[in-house]
């Protein structure tokens, strides 16, 4: 049964040829005069030119955020702030189809994920934090916690609008103002969000969006006029930021890389475990910091589980991200594709066996087939380094102790999954895993009320839930 193409319409999106920075409530040209081009990773077609913010632009943005913090926004009651957040949340819902298409175009991820996962979560994060805005004294952070001031926020390309929501919603709910830099390959939904801020009549300067690449991010993070830095991205860049912020007195939260273990015990519900393994590593092309990129399967069921897994992967549909039946979309950039290829090759060179389904890759665009590496050992690079792509490394274990030891034997500690029908084994395992999130008989589930963050080189601080508010508040003196 072949499915006829079922493409979502691009007509709901009106792309401009070029975009300016969003500072002090207005779109404004970059003083730097520089631009970058953002492309559709599925076909390499240029989508739009986007301004690159230089040092002078960052100065302007931080100054605007400071004025807003010391002005209207800082004096506003929590209940009033909450109204703005509710309004933003509703506009996001109303424009969710347009935003979902725009996200798929700019990022390469399938429309069914932007439509069914990203956008509902984006709206949920604004709704959730809107509810907190007038209740901060009940968050367990002291009787009258205060905002920090101006937050510098730098977000990655894997969930552009969702990561924006994770950063901006709590910052605004707690009374801070923000300067946010989206990733250079995926700036378009952040700029659409700037338009939503205008539509919601958000006071000028409360949210500022500065686009650009690494230099722009470095200038923003190092700017002395900010009180807080929040970063989601690679561990390598996170280290650089930690060094830049050290000694400045700024607060810092980092959400970094991961090499999540997905542990399948021999008594697991195997067909559902297969689904969890698939969503754990192939959701968003594996561009997920908490991806279950290391499958740890109990030796006694490996021979039963792996053929089921391969049969399931054969059914994944790779191709046009705007087709509603696409399961796997494009890799976000040529650079990321190169990195995935290099690491997958390293796996094969080190003796792992590589398997991919017989799927045809589109001729244009950045594509990598879903890949399973078996015969991987802890000593292999593919068991240790984050690949950030649709590549699953399979290891086996014999006892629960061995599973936990292997799961924890990583410099990272962001996520883990445990699959067993036995409750006591589940709890025994979960309490020993050194990971910020442990999913039980599921994987990659997110909720704004649930705090998210890492151990070890996966960063520090939490986003979401009551814990996430703490990152943007100081206790009353």
């Amino acid at each position: 049964m072949e499915y006829a193409p079922a493409p979502e319409s691009r007509a709901v999106v009106s792309l401009r040829t070029s975009y300016e920075l969003f500072i002090d409530g207005e779109f404004t040209p970059a003083k730097s005069g520089e631009e970058l081009t953002t492309v559709n990773p599925a076909d390499e077609e240029p989508l739009a030119r986007v301004a690159v913010a230089g040092a002078a632009d960052i100065d302007r943005a931080v100054a605007a955020a400071r004025r807003a913090y010391e002005g209207a926004w800082g004096r506003m009651s929590g209940a009033e702030r909450g109204k703005y957040l509710f309004r933003i949340a509703r506009i996001i819902q109303e424009r969710s189809r347009e935003l979902a298409v725009l996200e798929s175009l700019d990022n390469g991820k399938p429309i069914k994920e932007t439509r069914d996962v990203d956008l509902p979560l984006v709206a949920a994060h604004f709704f959730y934090h809107a509810g907190w805005a007038d209740k901060l004294s009940h968050a367990g952070l002291g009787p009258a916690p205060r905002p920090l001031g101006v937050a510098a926020q730098v977000i990655p390309w894997n969930f552009p609008l969702l990561m924006l929501a994770w950063k901006i919603a709590p910052a605004l709910a707690t009374g801070n103002t923000v300067v946010l830099k989206p990733a250079e390959t995926t700036p378009l939904t952040a700029l659409a969000f700037a338009g939503i801020c205008q539509e919601a009549d958000l006071p000028p300067g409360v949210v500022n969006i500065v686009t650009g690449a690494g230099d722009t991010g470095r200038a923003l993070v190092a700017h002395p006029g900010t009180d807080k830095v929040a970063f989601t991205g690679s561990t390598e860049v996170g280290r650089e930021i930690a060094r830049a912020v050290a000694g400045t007195g700024k607060r810092l939260t980092l959400e970094l890389g991961g090499k999540g273990a997905n542990i399948v015990y021999d008594d697991a519900a195997l067909d559902q475990a297969v689904e969890g393994i698939v969503s754990g590593i192939f959701f968003n092309q594996g561009h997920v910091c908490c991806a279950g990129s290391r499958l740890l399967v109990q030796e006694s069921v490996a021979d039963e589980l792996l053929p089921r897994l391969r049969a399931r992967i054969e059914r994944l549909r790779l191709g046009d991200p705007l087709d509603k039946n696409t399961d796997i979309g494009a890799i976000n950039s040529a650079a990321q594709l190169d990195r995935i290829r290099e690491l997958a090759r390293a796996g094969a060179d080190e003796g792992a066996e590589s398997w991919s389904p017989a799927c045809r890759l589109p001729e244009r665009g950045y594509w990598f087939p879903p890949t399973v590496l078996t015969g991987v050992t802890q000593a292999h690079r593919v068991a240790r380094e984050e690949i950030f792509g649709p590549v699953l490394s399979v290891l086996t274990f014999r006892t629960p102790e061995e599973a936990v030891a292997k799961a924890n034997n990583t410099p990272y500690g962001l996520s883990a999954g445990v699959w067993t029908e036995k409750g006591s084994r589940m709890l025994w395992t979960a309490e020993r895993l050194r990971a910020g999130v442990v999913w039980s008989n599921t994987f990659n589930k997110f909720d704004p009320a649930s705090p998210f963050g890492g151990y070890k080189e996966s960063g520090y601080g939490r986003e979401g839930g009551r814990h996430g508010l703490e990152a943007y508040l100081v206790h009353a003196a």
Binding site: A4, K112, D271, R308
Partner: protein, 322 residues
């Protein structure tokens, strides 16, 4: 797309003596991997979002029509009603000869002869619900007599109900032996075993009952009588498709699946076909291995078919009631 069920030998094999005792059957059935309720519901919901359009939809609608077991199972059924239904089964749309016939007409045993006469030479099979349908609460001798009579009267397919009471009491051997006996009484007729999943309460039980019926010789496993709610749900059909897929991988024998009850719209039918395609594989996309038990589905399929070819919906009065 290729048939990519797991290779033989990887799925749960059936020990040759699994049915040797109730204890052996229990050990086998309870040794099957469990079903995670949240996970199976999520998977079914995800597959239900598949978007079947244009040419794919046209092909799927015709396939669904060919898979329909057009059913009337009412106490008030008359020979006249059954004859009308048979005429419709052979030529669902009198105005459009390109519409294929359905797979079978499903009636109570006392009307099997009427249906067989009306369908003679048409290629449409007679299916009959025997074994004290729908409760199944009758002595085995009565069930076997019911079955033999229906086959003698021209039923090529027997839809039997399992003894849910025995199943829930853990008396798997009794259920197994009844199915085996009915299969034998069927002679050349195909046996569809109705699990009545709405009464089995858990997905684990659905999986166990599926394997039990398959081992006892079922040619098809069927969700429901249509008399109990919930009837055919997507997660239940999904579990049954996994069972036949795994059994096929282990033995090479392809058992069919028939969701029945509550399938009323083209959208319902297409979602079922997507499940078949992605869970069991395209090898089951054939009336020989997948059926839809329905009474009101056919008209909606016909209306959607007309809309696809003409661009507008005809009114319901353009289609026969039965």
């Amino acid at each position: 797309m290729t048939d990519t069920a797991p290779p033989p030998g990887t799925a749960a094999p059936s020990p040759p003596d699994a049915a040797a005792s109730n204890a052996a059957l229990r050990a086998f059935l309870h040794g099957l991997p469990g079903v995670d309720e949240v996970g199976v519901q999520a998977r079914a919901a995800d597959l239900a979002t598949r978007s079947i359009k244009t040419t794919a939809k046209a092909r799927a609608i015709d396939l669904a029509i060919r898979m329909v077991d057009l059913t009337t199972l009412e106490g008030a059924d008359t020979p006249g009603k059954v004859r009308a239904l048979c005429a419709k089964a052979v030529r669902p749309d009198p105005a459009d000869r390109s519409v294929p016939s359905v797979a079978a007409v499903c009636v109570y045993p006392d009307l099997a002869r009427t249906a067989a006469d009306a369908l003679a030479g048409s290629g449409v099979a007679v299916a009959s619900v025997a074994t004290a349908f729908p409760s199944g609460r009758a002595p085995l001798e009565a069930k076997l007599a019911d079955t033999r009579r229906a086959v003698a009267d021209g039923a090529a397919e027997i839809d039997m109900v399992i003894d849910r009471g025995a199943f829930l009491a853990g008396d798997y051997r009794a259920v197994h032996d009844q199915i085996t006996a009915v299969k034998e009484a069927c002679g050349p007729a195909h046996l569809k075993v109705i699990l009545e999943t709405g009464e089995l309460a858990t997905y684990d039980n659905v999986r166990r009952a599926s394997w039990l019926a398959i081992h006892a010789g079922a040619d098809f496993i069927k969700t429901s009588t249509g008399k109990v709610s919930p009837a055919a749900t997507l997660p239940v059909t999904l579990i049954m498709l996994e069972a036949v897929r795994d059994h096929h991988a282990a033995t090479g024998r392809r058992v069919g699946v028939k969701p029945a009850g509550g399938i009323r719209t083209t959208k319902d039918a297409l979602r079922n076909l997507v499940l078949v395609n992605e869970v069991a594989g395209p090898g089951w996309l054939d009336p020989a291995h997948f059926r839809l038990g329905a009474s009101s589905l056919l008209n909606d399929l016909l209306m959607q078919r007309t809309r696809l070819s003409t661009g507008s919906y005809p009114g319901p009065d353009y289609y026969t009631l039965d």
